[in-house]
Symmetry: C3
Subunit: 303 residues, 3 copies
């Protein structure tokens, strides 16, 4: 079944995922402009320059145009009290597709319910970030050659990080996946995700010792621990432990890959040379993959 | 006579208006790109995401490109003390046409006086908003099939609302128009507009009782009452009275149309289903019409 | 040798400069679109609407597209602590060329060191602004017909103004150049520039009396004295003296030209009519030249 909107990663079937990845591979070297004359509206209620520019570049590479607001929360009619539903109905008259980034969980779903044009969730509150999950998975396949038979360590703030949540929903669709959740106890993954994984026969375990887990993983998926979620003492303790530096990066298997949704701060602290030459450092290629994954999604939703 | 700029709605003759509407109708279904290679500068000194995106989308649909600033007041050389005249002279070197939104009445006129490229007033202080008036009038014709023989109720803050002012100037150009101004006494329409209407043989009356007026109107043009213009007590009183909800919406004639320049807040409070199915709710179509009216204006000024 | 990036004006050889100027002249009347399908990222960590719109317009006139952020300092991942190096590596995956404006001296150089795509310095802290220098020099040649045998008075804040610094580096490449630095003593040109000029056989002198210098100059290059760099008393004194108004503008030779990187405030105070009709007023043509100079640079770096 063709999707009209992409609001949460569960919507993506294995069949759609594989066809998007095929498309993404093709767009890598293609100069095709299938979206010539189409307009994308980037409606960002909270700033995320990286995600916004990635979508905008994707649209332009496909021949399309972009109208954009970087800070709709402060600048737009939202200030005057207009509902997201009304804003969506109006912007949908100006654009052929809308990507919404919002500070409230569920915002993209609300917009999709009334929009005559496709809505893409570009991240909503502590909810989901399905295109990030899509590019994460695309990177995993690109780097390892497979989507089944993988051990994935997810590290950092697993409680608040929406990219981890969205990626788990996608991983649940593949075979023989094992997830090792590595986090301080107060930032452990929530029960709804654990329930989902159990229902989908994904093995998982919860650990607190990062170095013990690093040698086991095919993929190490680091996330940022957010200062604003805890006391300074807790933060300093967690940030010191849930961290990849030169000494423990060596613990990774030679075929393993280090991913990160970026931006990273001190939770990854590798020498520039390692970043530039060690092929296990995959997070910049991951960011670039976002471009092709988003091109594939835009083309899919607009066809 | 061909206009070089659009600064105030009085400039628009009936002949120009009708030719713009014809053009707007044509652009609705056309894939023509008459402005390929042209550049629009959106120079917004106060944020108005809706108006800006509407202009930008219009320009792109015609094949043109857009350079844009969302908050020139804070971000641009205005901070360093540069005059609007100088900014205009410089931006006119980069763009083929400029739309200016400004917090000061008269700003667009100032810019037009020195600009070698067309200036469009995108709203200036408590002055005018002529493209809003143009799309309002276009919507009235689209919805009722005519521009003469109309009874129009204008409701809300008629003192400060520039869209009402600009629309009155346009209505003065047509025959057998009757305007009912409905507002609290402290927000009634200003004398300059009343004088203009009298000189142009437009009948008008001033009322305070909304429900008495609703059954008489072909068009009900609602506007937002702005909290910042009065005391909390006055606001609450006015907002409770000058309001369309389910119960008084029923008072409209079956052929009537409800318009609003948007964004609306509590002054319109209709169920989603009514908004989606009752054809008297015209304000989302009105917003879409803005796109076609602006396309027509851009093409007209650039030819 | 072909440049990969433009970080500081010293990089530009006479040969490159002349070929860029030839190109700029050609682009003035051409409808060629040599950069169709290419994407420019405008990564502005401090607002500069004029410079940004000039680059964006230049890119669009060449057929390219633009992704853009107006205030990366506040809006982007910089807030979360991401390094400029990481941001550059990621944005370079989305764009074919990047112009960076940054509040820290050396930022563009840092970015260029890791970027796989060309970096253009759009102004960095108190460092350089090489495209401003390029357009200044292009204007000097356009207006006087030559790049050698020139007497140039540079006026105002010579200590903090990066445009003066960048222009001096370029002037050092030509023959029989004489520079008269005119500034209050506390804002005089720094020693590194004087050393550079001496090494390159450029005559210079330092003066405090503007009116004495005006009749001698082929080019008067005014700059803004910045309030924030001194006490109110010092500012008022300097602003009253280092100023071109109707009475001392008359002291300029009839063949002289008045330039300014703009925006100007009270340091130039000429009647509108003089600005519009006296051909010695060259600063608006200078701003327009920026468009063609930047077009030439973009085309050069992307070929």
């Amino acid at each position: 079944m063709k999707l009209n909107h992409l609001v949460e990663s569960q919507q993506l079937s294995v069949e759609i995922i594989l066809s998007l990845f095929k498309r993404a591979d093709e767009f890598r070297d293609s100069a095709d402009k299938p979206l010539t004359g189409k307009i994308l509206a980037a409606l960002f209620y909270e700033p995320s320059t990286r995600t916004r520019l990635s979508f905008e570049s994707a649209m332009m590479k496909l021949g399309g145009n972009v109208i954009s607001t970087e800070n709709a929360k402060e600048f737009s009619s939202a200030v005057k009290g207009e509902s997201l539903i009304d804003t969506t109905r109006i912007i949908s008259a100006y654009a052929d597709i809308i990507v919404i980034r919002h500070f409230e969980t569920g915002a993209a779903k609300q917009a999709a319910a009334v929009s005559p044009v496709p809505i893409i969730n570009g991240g909503d509150g502590s909810g989901q970030h399905p295109t990030q999950a899509l590019l994460d998975l695309y990177t995993i396949r690109k780097e390892t050659g497979r989507l089944d038979n993988l051990t994935i360590a997810m590290v950092g703030d697993l409680k608040n990080g929406r990219t981890v949540r969205s990626l788990c929903y996608l991983l649940g669709k593949f075979k023989n996946i094992k997830i090792i959740f590595v986090s301080p106890e107060n930032l452990s993954i929530k029960d709804d995700i654990k329930d989902y994984l159990m229902r989908h026969d994904v093995q998982y375990e919860e650990q607190t010792d990062l170095n013990k887990c690093l040698p086991l993983a095919d993929i190490v998926y680091m996330t940022r621990i957010q200062k604003e979620q805890m006391t300074a003492g807790e933060y300093n303790k967690a940030a010191g432990i849930y961290k990849i530096a030169e000494e423990n990066f060596k613990l990774l298997k030679s075929s393993a890959r280090l991913l990160h949704p970026l931006p990273h701060v001190e939770e990854i602290n590798l020498p520039l040379k390692t970043e530039q030459t060690d092929e296990r450092v995959a997070y910049f290629r991951q960011a670039e993959n976002g471009l092709y994954a988003r091109m594939a999604l835009l083309a899919y939703l607009l066809e």
